[in-house]
């Protein structure tokens, strides 16, 4: 073959061969993208109503640590299937259920009943008893779960790690009036 640009039968066959591999490859690989992206679900798709147990565990006017098993649990999860949260019982059936994760970078906040503050060990975020930001780097208060009382038990709507992109609470009824 003297001229490189000339299309011979063999170069044509080679190009068809490359094209066939590309077509078959794409046909096989495209659905696999779905496999890779399978953890991504719509907002709330991971959530379920989960019982935190009897109301009697939560004395009025106090904040207690509770835990639940994540509804989306796999066999290999071990202890990591458990999630803790802070339950504050204001009175009767009025509650606030706070995520354990600091709104800054997700570290576990600790409740100090004496000073009625939540403190974060990582970067020093501090929150008041009602979850409002008190000081430190967080740009908002603690994340709160929706709750309801069913048959003497406290249920929360949970299932995924609360972050600034998934703020745990679906209903925005808790907006404090400004001014």
């Amino acid at each position: 073959m003297s001229d490189g640009k000339q299309v011979t039968r063999r170069t044509l066959l080679m190009k068809i061969g490359i094209a066939m591999n590309a077509v078959v490859g794409i046909a096989i690989a495209t659905p696999v993208i779905g496999y890779l992206f399978s953890p991504v679900k719509r907002k709330g798709a991971y959530n379920q109503w989960i019982s935190l147990g009897s109301l009697n565990q939560f004395p009025e006017g106090q904040t207690r640590l509770a835990e639940f098993i994540n509804p989306f649990k796999r066999a290999q999860d071990g202890d990591t299937a458990k999630t803790p949260c802070w339950v504050r019982r204001l009175s009767g059936n009025k509650f606030q259920v706070f995520a354990i994760n600091c709104a800054h970078l997700g570290c576990p906040v600790r409740w100090f009943p004496q000073s009625e503050l939540f403190m974060c060990p990582c970067h020093g975020g501090v929150y008041y008893a009602n979850g409002d930001r008190a000081s430190g780097p967080p740009e908002r208060g603690l994340f709160q779960y929706d709750y309801k009382v069913v048959g003497g038990e406290l249920h929360i709507n949970a299932g995924q790690m609360p972050t600034l992109a998934n703020e745990a609470m679906a209903r925005k009824e808790k907006l404090v009036c400004l001014g």
């Binding site: 992206f37 953890p39 991504v40 679900k41 907002k43 991971y46 640590l65 835990e67 994540n70 989306f72 649990k73 796999r74 066999a75 290999q76 999860d77 071990g78 202890d79 990591t80 299937a81 458990k82 999630t83 803790p84 354990i100 994760n101 800054h104 970078l105 997700g106 570290c107 576990p108 906040v109 600790r110 100090f112 004496q114 000073s115 009625e116 503050l117 403190m119 974060c120 060990p121 990582c122 970067h123 020093g124 501090v126 008041y128 008893a129 008190a134 000081s135 430190g136 780097p137 967080p138 740009e139 299932g159 995924q160 790690m161 972050t163 600034l164 992109a165 998934n166």
Partner: protein, 487 residues
């Protein structure tokens, strides 16, 4: 002997590797490059090999499962012969590797070795640095303990700040809605298959280019890099004043690599393996998560950013930093190589190194974190209270019981989040103390709702005693005027 030669000849006739290997080994390099400054790249490669070998040996035992990983690490540490040593070698090997890669990069930067025609070598090197850091982070996750668990939480929280796709990114990172078994499995795949595979490929190309383009000559002030003439000048230099790479330059690489390996082993034996720390049980919240050494600076930066700057900084700064590194050889690809003529480069390197050191130091001491058990663990020094009135002593009790100590130190013990209070009475008057306690502010929570008036009274009385004996208490403007009018 001739029998050995026969065997060698049999293989050589089939493999035909002798030619290319001899060519690579004996190619001339400028005499000036046979220097102790040029040993870090080969040392990084030696450490990569060490990490691969020790990694494979650990993988024989390790189970990447949320419920089993911690137990298998515990077995390695305590039950298997030399399991602890292999974990320690792998952990210390990773520390040394990050350090050596950074030193290698700093040296290449200082020597102008990224300039024409070695731009692509530098670019691949930047990716190799990113992969080395990626290995350090994913490796920390595989040590599936409390720090790993909450470290993933920090990673997910940072991801969630990406606009629009933050939520899906968190799910992709975690492999589901929460940090759990699926998260560990995907970090295992990254740490063991994806990143090492890419690293080997990139390292191969990196070394290939070093062989093909030649080792950077020692930079001399006034010897300017020009695209038109550089390659000819380099080849002349390498042939006129050159030495064969093997053995003239290689022996130093070999000495240094052996030294580094020995240093890793000594650290492994002396300091032992890293963790694992507490079991990855998220309901055990008595923990203060901290990243490994090489990410402490980032941990420190994240605590000092004002809230409104955090998201832009976290998302934009790394991308800008990487782009600057990648753009460097294309922006400054010609010209002077010598640091004597590149003051900006020297200043940049010194600034980066000092900032890194300062932030790492802060990350070790975390002055921004409340000391969670200071209120119950660190007593008020006796000499402060033994002459106090009952009310002032009651104030000291309030001070401890309300966790003030977690953020404020007295006598050097306690948190450093807020100012130390040893001499607070010289800085704030009674009125200012009351206002500060009740209303907070300046990064302190308001205690108005949590303290009764008698508690505030006692606390402020106690705080007013906190001053060195020979210094006057703080007074406000009206008090000062009164004092002066009385004179």
């Amino acid at each position: 002997m001739s029998r050995l030669k026969q065997i060698y000849g049999w293989f050589e006739r089939r493999l035909q590797l002798e030619g290319p290997i001899k060519e690579a080994a004996l190619h001339p390099v400028p005499r000036s490059t046979a220097s102790w400054w040029y040993v870090f790249g080969s040392a990084a490669m030696t450490l990569l090999m060490l990490q691969i070998v020790t990694g494979i040996l650990l993988a024989i035992i390790y189970v990447p499962s949320g419920s089993e990983a911690w137990k298998t690490l515990d077995q390695l540490n305590h039950q298997l012969y030399l399991g602890w040593f292999l974990r320690a070698m792998h952990g210390w090997g990773s520390n040394f590797m990050v350090a050596v890669v950074l030193i290698h990069m700093a040296q290449v930067f200082m020597f102008g070795a990224y300039k024409f025609p070695r731009e692509l070598t530098w670019v691949l090197g930047v990716f190799l640095l990113l992969m080395t850091l990626g290995m350090a982070f994913t490796g920390q996750v595989l040590r599936f303990d409390q720090d790993a668990y909450w470290g993933l939480g920090i990673g997910a929280s940072i991801m969630s700040r990406v606009p629009f796709i933050g939520g899906p990114l968190v799910h992709l990172l975690l492999g589901g809605p929460i940090i759990a078994g699926a998260t560990l499995s995907r970090f295992f795949a990254l740490h063991v298959f994806v990143i090492p595979g890419l690293m080997l490929l990139f390292t191969g190309l990196h070394v290939w280019m070093v062989l093909k383009l030649g080792i950077n000559e020692w930079p001399m002030p006034g010897r300017i890099v020009r695209r038109e003439t550089y390659i000819q000048e380099y080849n002349e230099l390498a042939h006129r004043d050159g030495v064969p790479f093997v053995p003239d330059a290689l022996w130093k690489d070999l000495f240094f690599s052996a030294g580094i390996l020995a240093a890793v082993a000594v650290c492994a034996v002396l300091f032992g393996p890293y963790g694992p720390g507490g079991q990855p049980d998220p309901t055990i919240i008595q923990t203060a998560p901290k990243p490994d050494f090489f990410f402490l600076w980032l941990f420190a930066v994240l605590s000092y950013l004002p809230p409104q700057l955090e998201t832009p900084f976290v998302l934009i700064a790394p991308a800008v930093g990487i782009l600057v590194l990648l753009a460097l050889p294309f922006v400054a690809g010609v010209g002077e190589k010598s640091w004597h003529r590149r003051p900006v480069a020297v200043l940049v390197l010194v600034t980066v190194a000092v900032s890194w050191g300062v932030f790492t130091h802060l990350g070790v001491h975390t002055p921004w974190s409340p000391v969670m058990d200071a209120w119950s663990g660190d007593p008020i020094p006796q000499k402060l209270v033994h002459r106090e009135t009952p009310l002032e002593r009651q104030g000291a009790v309030v001070f401890q019981a309300k966790q003030c100590r977690n953020c404020h130190s007295i006598g050097g013990l306690g948190g450093q989040r807020g100012p130390a209070l040893d001499d607070v009475a010289t800085r704030l008057t009674e009125d200012q103390l009351i206002r500060q306690v009740l209303q907070g502010g300046g990064n302190m929570p308001a205690y108005g709702k949590n303290l009764s008036p008698p508690e505030v009274n006692a606390l402020v009385r106690f705080l007013e005693t906190l001053k060195p004996a020979n210094q006057p208490a703080a007074v406000d403007a009206s008090q000062q005027a009164q004092v002066q009018s009385e004179k």
